[in-house]
Point group: C2
Chain length 236, copies 2
């Protein structure tokens, strides 16, 4: 019979851990200290967290599962790069939904090399999840796996750039809007992951010309891009 105001045991452990990390430092805090302050047994800790590092990033396992589910639920016709960009916004929200906690953890992570390494491995797992989705969806493209890996890394880097700025600022400003802009840059670079050069032939004509080029050359290039037999009409 727990009262409604009492946080669940998992939250109590996270709260106790962070209170101790901030007071004594991360290295000086043991799992024993955490369970004592939270008033639970040692086994309870390991039911929720695989290690002391785990309590620092308590929600990533669940979010990783959600992200995997979100990606799998995407329709076949959907732009896979857009889907991955939406998925990374879910990861960002894990931070922005709780600015105070996120900024505390950021400061802790900067000071403790072991936590930095742990965080890199978390980021790596998101990146591989995104890459896995893209590899599947780009499987029939030339160099599909390469494209998938590169795009996944670019998406994660854009996310991290925005996240770090937001954390450094102490959690101020609209990280979501910044992320949309950063991800637009990535999408502009890669499109939907297809080689746009390949698709161009099907329905779009692109002509690039230096401003200084003589007009007859512009016309000739447009006609040659349009294909055999096509000519620009004479001025009516």
């Amino acid at each position: 019979m727990s009262s409604p105001s009492k946080p669940p045991m998992r939250d109590a452990l996270v709260e106790a851990a962070f209170r101790l990390f901030l007071e004594r430092g991360y290295e000086q805090t043991t799992v024993e200290d955490i369970v004592t302050l939270a008033g639970v047994g040692r086994r309870s800790f390991f039911r929720y967290f695989p290690s002391k590092e785990g309590v620092v990033f308590p929600d990533h396992e669940r979010r990783l599962a959600e992200v995997t589910g979100f990606l799998a639920a995407g329709g076949e016709g959907e732009d896979p790069v857009a889907r991955v960009c939406e998925a990374v916004r879910l990861v960002l929200r894990l931070y922005t939904d709780n600015p105070v906690f996120s900024v505390q953890r950021y400061r802790l992570t900067k000071e403790v090399p072991g936590l930095r390494a742990y965080e890199l491995s978390v980021v790596w797992r998101y990146e591989r999840t995104f890459a896995g989705h893209l590899r599947e969806r780009l499987a029939d493209r030339p160099d599909g796996a390469l494209r998938a890996d590169v795009i996944a890394a670019a998406v994660v880097a854009a996310h991290n750039n925005v996240l770090r700025s937001w954390l450094r600022s102490g959690g101020e400003g609209d990280a979501g809007a910044a992320a949309d802009r950063a991800l637009a840059y990535v999408r502009e670079a890669f499109g939907d992951g297809a080689d746009r050069g390949d698709e161009r032939d099907e329905d779009v004509v692109v002509v690039v010309s230096r401003r200084g080029a003589p007009m007859w050359r512009v016309v000739r290039e447009i006609e040659s891009a349009l294909g055999p037999g096509e000519r620009l009409p004479d001025r009516p």
Copy 2:
């Protein structure tokens, strides 16, 4: 007085370490075991390597310093993305110059989570070195830091994609040629890191048109892209 054929102490330590890792497993081997087999004192080990993980990646510290120097030596007028692509080829060479060792280490790293984490932190340091160079060179671009981070991540991902394929194949094939191709994909996506959209205004006209568009619309778009007063010439 060491004979010319006797490897230096550092190499002897790496050799002893790998012999033991392969025979007994990584976790079952202690630094004590390594120095005993190599016939040197414990202090010699720590003169060369910060930790047991360190002996698994013995050349990255030096290569990281070389990469940093190589980037700094680049001329001001040089394409910074091309420079970073050349730098990552130096990292690849660290693996391809010694296929047997690289493939052994790859198999070890796959089996030991701690080594995987260590490797991620090595990769991270290369990525931050590349990003630092690009941030400097793109500082006057809009969103220069974002571009730098995203391009650095894309370059590293292209490198890793090629490296992993090569390692999985047991060190067969021309990884250098594969890397050139993978990096060409990244450079195609990002150019020299500048927003090509910004530059376009200065000297190039781009017209994109659906193939189905009526010809008069194509003409009108070209004229409006060329700017006020410019008209396509009548057919001569």
